[in-house]
Structure formats: C-alpha cells, structure tokens
Amino acid sequence: MPRKSSAALIILALLSMPVSPVLAIDAKQLVEDGFNYWRGQASVAVVDMTLHRLDWERTMTIKAWTLGQADSLFRIIAPPKDNGNGTLKKGKEMWMFNPKINRVIKLPPSMMSQSWMGSDFSNNDLSKTDSLIKDYDHTIIGTEINQGQTVYLIESMPKPGAPVIWGMQRLKIRQDLVFLSQEFFDEDLEPVKIMTASQIQMLGGKIFPRVWRMRKVDETDQYTELVYRELEFKASLPANILTVPNLKNPRR
C-alpha cells in the first residue's frame, strides 16, 4: 500500500510538472531582469517623498544612492529642519543618522517592521528589497496589454523555509522590463499593500516610471508617493559612499 501511494505521488508529481517549465524559468528571468533594470548597476537620484493622510500632507526631498541589488543610502535634503538625516542600508543591516544629536543608530531587528520615517514603507521594505529575487518562486499567471505592450502578471510565492515577510507577492512587469506594480499579501494571502508606478517616461537614460505610490489596501486616502526629480544610472559608485562615515557626512 505505501508503495502504491508513493507511486501515485510520483505520477501526480509528473502530471503537475507540465505547468511549462519553460515559462517558470522565464518568470524567474523576467523578474530578475526587471529588478536589475529597475535598480540598475548603481544610481543616484533625487526624490520627493510625500506622505499623504486624510487631513494632512508632508513632502520631504531625499537624495538616494543605490548600488547593486542590496545596498543604498538615503539622505533627506529638505525641508531644512530634517536636512542631513540619513539611512544607510547594507545587505540586511540598517543604520540611521541624525545631525542634531550627531549619532548613528543601528536599527535593531525588532524595529524592522516599523514604518520608515513615518511613511507607508517599512524598514523591511527597504532592507529586504532583494528578497523578491532570492526568496521567492515566480510564476506567470497571465498577460494583459498596456499601451501596446505586453504586461506579464506574475505570482511570487516564498520558497519553503525562506525568511520572508510576505506570504505572496503579485507583480506586473511590462515586456520592456518596467515594473508596473507590486502587491504584497500576508500569510493568509490577504492583500496588505500595493505599490504602483505611473508616468512612465525617459528618465536617467531609460524608460522609467517617474511616480511610485505605496498604499495600504484598506486605506484609500492614505499613501506615500515617491516622485523622481533627478535620476542617473551609473556603472558603479565610489567605494566611500555607502559607508557609515559617509552617512554622517552631510556635504555630499
């Protein structure tokens, strides 16, 4: 009996295989390519971040450096009150710097799920950016047409045992590798928040969405919007930029 059932399992497994392995590889490749297209090798950008709430709105201007899939530095340059506040992210670790108290604080793991600077992005959203590529299996579940281009709908499920925050993610990636949206689901596969891109145009030498909006799914008039003012993609960054000493250095 056990032999029979295990044989049945193998047959079942074989039967379920032909969900086109070709497509599965494609999905993984597509997500990785899209992600790399989005991040570039390295980039320097100036972004306006607007926190929008029902009765209130606030905009900060942030200068951002990114390198590869996992490292970045954000520094607030306006309003003047917050000028010089920075966040450095290397791998999975994060540090914050405040010029008023002139201290660098390393974020404890317990704070990772807290919101970053009061926005709808959590520290995890920033620190685990590359988790999408490393920790998830991707499947193309459909396509649609957007402005004459094919858009792939991708469902990303966490790999077994991967240290992930989300129970599922759904992505929309255009055939020219532009990310259109990323939707985050909890363990019960209920939607939690969604990030959407718009105003796709030439930016930093490639087609890129100028506006990104992160919104909690159950709150309609509460979101965080990122608008790129400047964006420049580079082959690499000087080695001293993504370092703790530079986090404290407000001149750059």
Binding site: L51, R53, W56, R58, M60, I76, P79, K81, D82, N85, M96, N98, K100, I101, R103, I105, K106, L107, P108, S110, M111, Q114, M117, G118
Partner: protein, 412 residues
Amino acid sequence: MSIDVKMAWRNIWRNPRRTFLTAAAIAFASLLLIFMISFQFGSYETMINTSVKIQAGHLQIQAQGYQDKKEIRQVVPDPKKIGLILDNIPDVQAHTSRATAFALVSSRDRTYGVLVVGVDPVQESQVSTLANLIRTGEYLSSEDLDQALIGKLLAKNLNVKPGDELTILGQGRDGSIAAAIVQITGVYSSGLDNFDRSAIHIPLKTFQDVFAMQGAVHEVVVIGKSLSDVPAIKAAIVKQLDTSGQSKQLTALDWQELMPGLVEAIKLDLISGLIFYGILVLVVAFSILNTFLMAIFERTREFGVMMAIGTTPGRLTKLLLIESISLTAIGVGAGMLLGTALTFYFQVHGLDFAGSSELLSQFGITGRMYPKLTLLSLLIGPGLVMAITSLAALYPALKIRRLKPVEALTHN
C-alpha cells in the same frame, strides 16, 4: 411563640451533636464564602488601584480614535482648556497631561523601540505613583531639562544607570524627524513588568519640543476622589465636552475602557471563583439534605403518631420547614459572625504576599493583600447557602406528606 415553632426548636435540639455538626458545616461554608469573596473583591480593588495609579488614571481625555491607533497626530490640542473644565468638577482630585510616542531609544551600544512618555513632573506626582517608584537616582526636577526616567527592566536591557545618556530618535507630530539626547536621572520599578520594560519618561515640555507637538498632548489623565466617583466624573466631562463643542474631536474614557485586559482578567477570575463557590454550596446542600432525610427515617413512627392524633400533613411539612430554616439560620448566623471577624482581622492586618508569583506581579500585587468586606461580599455567600439549603430541605419536608399513618406507626 406558636406551638409549631416551640416544637420545631425542641426537635432541633433533640440530637444536639448532629445539629451542632450540621450547623457547623453551614457556618463553615458561610465563613469561607464571606472571606473568599471579600478577598477577591479586595484583590480586584488592589489590582485596579495599582494599575490606575501607575498608568491609566481613573479617566482619560483623548482624541477620538487615539486609544485604538495611538498615532502621534491624534492629539488633545489645548490641554489648558480641558484643565479648566476638570478644575470645576468637584469629584476630580487631580489631573495631568501626557504625550506619548513610539521611538528608537539607544544607549551607547544598544537600541530598543520603546514608548517615550512626556509627563509634567509636578502634576504627574499628584496623579500617579511614578515619583514614589524611583529605586535608584532621582525623580525629574521641576525645571524642564533633557532628563529621563527609565524602567528597571529597560535599564537592564539597555545596560544603563542614572547619569548615562540616551538617544531618542522618532518622528514628530508634523512628520519631521524627532531626535534628542537625554540624561537618565532615575530608574523606576513598578512591579508591572510591561511598564518597567517598555517605556521612558521625559519632561512634557522637552517632549513637546522634540516631537514638535505645538503645545498639544495625547492624554489628559484624571484621578477622582474614589473609584466610585468615576461614572459621575465621566458624565460631567462628557457634558462639558458636548456644550463646548469638542465632543467630535475628544472623548472621555474610564479605566475599564483604558484597560480592557484588566477588566477581562477580573471577569475571568470572578467566573472561576463563582464556579468554586457553586461547588462548595452544593456540597453543603447535599450534607443538609442527608441530615434531614436521616431525621425523617428516624422519626417516621413519631410522624405516624402525630398524624394518628390528627396532625394534618400540611402542618407536619410546616414543622419540618421551620426546623430546617432555623437550623440553617443558626449556621449562617454563626458563619457570618465568624466570617466578619476573620475578614475584618485580615482587612486590618493584611495577608503577606511578598515574593508573589509573576502572574500576580503583572497586576501590581507584590506586597500585602487586604480583603475588603462590603455588604455585598457579606451577603452573597450566606444568601446563597440559605437559598440552596432551604431548597434541599424542601424535598424531605414534602416527602412526609405521602406518609400513611398506619404504615408509619408500624415502621421501626
């Protein structure tokens, strides 16, 4: 005294030892119930008072929705105006304002996310016991400096002592970055682990500067003259908020709404207590039932004789009921007397719970406990015993109505 009562009384004392034992069982049950219920009530009051005095206060005035979301933008914009309202409510003993925010707090080498509470050093000491809980170092000075009080467990986690500096990094009311360096002046220990692990207290003015509060606060905390004044104070506040047109933005919450966990814990304890008391009363009731049933079997011949000389069954039932009620009354009376004495003794001297379990210390019960004798705690137990035993006695009393005089006479 009617002949029935006289007969009943004599019948009771026909077997003094049995009567004494039965009455003693009833008395013991009553005594136990009075003491335990009083003790429960007393411990609830201790729990409530401790929690009220350490943290929540009897009442708080907050922005609508702050209790659920605790967002820094949900403020009481003008605490002075609320203060004026409170000053005119006679049952209010004291009040103070607090502001709270979640922030990163770091020592030299460690960082934790904790609640930063801004308190008015002078008024706070009239409302809460914070000033008396300082174990090392000192309470906040009345001038507004960059000082902080820290809970004992958090101090251990951050590895700091009075004199050390703490860095606070969070977000202000206007969304700007809030950052400050404060010096620890004192370490407090309340016995409530959660409170000692998760918060630091800084002067309200400092808080308002750092977190860009523009004079606003999050909670106006009110202490009434006693716990029983709370509903009246609440009604008065709600009315004042209504007439001044602030009831849309602000709300008054009493301690039950502020500490739903405590209310749940009390309910749970009360229910488990009630189950225990129910079982106790049931056991006593069965022993009474047994006693009366035995008496009837013994006295069947006697009842036969009485019926033969013309006693009606109704009168016999009445006789037996008077007997059982008197017996119960003796027991309950003695139990109430002894119970009151015992409870009162401990109400004055207290029961030592030093080194109590972790569970109790969560609710601030660390030292002596005092039962609290009230009319309610005095009457619930004995009343229950009285009712159940009377019910138990009803069965034998009705049973004798079915006796046939001739059969009863020949019964041995």
